[in-house]
Amino acid sequence: MFRSSIEDIEIELFVHALKRRFGHDFSNYAPASLKRRVRLLARQFKCDHISDLASKVLHNPQLLPDVIAGLSVPVSEMFRDPPVFRALRDEVLPRLASYPEINIWQAGCAFGQEVYSLAILLKEAGLYERSHIYATDFNDVALARAQEGIFAARDAKLYSRNYQEGGGTRSLSDYYHARYEFIKMDESLKERITFANHNLVCDSVFCEAHLIICRNVLIYFNDELQDHVLKLFSDSLVRGGYLCIGNRENIQFSASATDFMAIDRQSRIYRRMPH
């Protein structure tokens, strides 16, 4: 197959440097989108070549959080793909209601839009008080923002529309305070959320989950890493626990996918089968 070789070599060197020096392993990320982000990062750091970028981080370790933030893609929306939230509301939450305590793991929470959406869903189902949500990401910059729960006011219209289309019965503005060009999510939504750094590549299972939501994260991983993470989810979920992935994700190339049975193909909601 055709290659544009110098840049590919430089990217390999950069990935290798991050792994050897900082223990951050991007070698099993899907190459095409990783390449785009490494290029953008080089531009952001005013490097002519990607090999300059490698040397820059190696000699300035304080830049690492910004490098991770640049390689991470914290792009999200509240109630993104509304039918999925409707399915969670109608099909999944009623079944979780039978547990005395509900553990939910949201992996790859980005700036937190999705975890606040989830908190609202749980409140409206009357399950919030006995739920515990672990919102994790490997991007500390994004996690700090997620914890603040502050979003741009210009996005509120889209979020409200999504919320309504996802079966919301109130007004989304009941859950935030608008100030100038920002909206701040209500503090009460945070009570049962724990934000934590967790790297899906190298960190292990930390809770027994009833529901795992990990949307549009596995798309950035190659087959091998996707399989590794699905195995991690399978190990974390209780028998019959639920997994929800992104709307257009495909897990057919993962051996661990056999641990999961689709209950809603459109919304990509699965149940963990008994081993």
Binding site: M1, F2, R3, S4, A30, A32, S33, D223, E249
Partner: protein, 200 residues
């Protein structure tokens, strides 16, 4: 030596795109030996209806691109809404939800650039009607890596902004109306005439 036959054709379309695509696809040889991959900005959230509309006019099978799968020659794939569609180096589809580029996700540039890197000189890229400049940078990358650049004649385009932007930044090997474009693609990627095959 002649330039190699394209094995993959990427097409970018925006405003006015559905009409142009219907004309183009309706004239494609059903025995086409290349795969066709389309990014079209439509603003619709479900491209499966869009595929159905295109399929009415076309003899080629048309479906939404599916993550991680390998596209097949003679098939037409459409990028789903809300995701960038990329070619991985191994020729399979990759998706991303990276930020919109110039208000668009999927972005034509993202598809073109990744396809250029996966296919090099065996890629053909087509820029059709549209009211923005998506595709111009991607077309430049296609040409840098030896691929074939085809742009809809601005006078033939419903909205000429996108073809003009592509011509200005990248230029083109061919600048054609839709009918001539279909003829060209059929001659480049139609079934091989065995009498012309030097190996036989």
């Amino acid at each position: 030596m002649d330039s190699p036959r394209p094995t993959c054709i990427v097409i970018g379309a925006s405003a006015g795109g559905i009409g142009a695509l219907r004309i183009l696809l309706s004239r494609m040889d059903p025995r086409l030996c290349a795969m066709i991959v389309i990014v079209s900005h439509t603003g619709s959230t479900d491209m499966r209806n869009f595929c159905d509309v295109l399929a009415e006019q076309s003899a080629l099978p048309i479906e939404e691109a599916c993550e991680r799968t390998r596209p097949q020659p003679g098939h037409v794939y459409v990028a789903p809404s809300g995701y960038h569609l990329l070619f991985e180096p191994d020729g399979r589809f990759g998706f991303s939800v990276d930020s919109k580029i110039g208000f668009s996700r999927p972005s034509i540039d993202v598809l073109f650039e990744s396809a250029a890197e996966a296919f090099g000189p065996t890629l053909a890229a087509i820029v059709l009607t549209g009211a923005n400049s998506d595709g111009a940078a991607g077309l430049l990358r296609v040409r840098e890596l030896g691929g074939l650049a085809i742009v809809q004649d601005p006078d033939d385009a419903e909205i000429d902004t996108m073809p003009r932007a592509a011509l200005e930044l990248a230029g083109a090997d061919h600048c054609l109306d839709l009918r001539s474009m279909a003829t060209l693609v059929n001659s480049l990627c139609g079934p091989r005439d065995e009498s012309e095959d030097p190996l036989r």
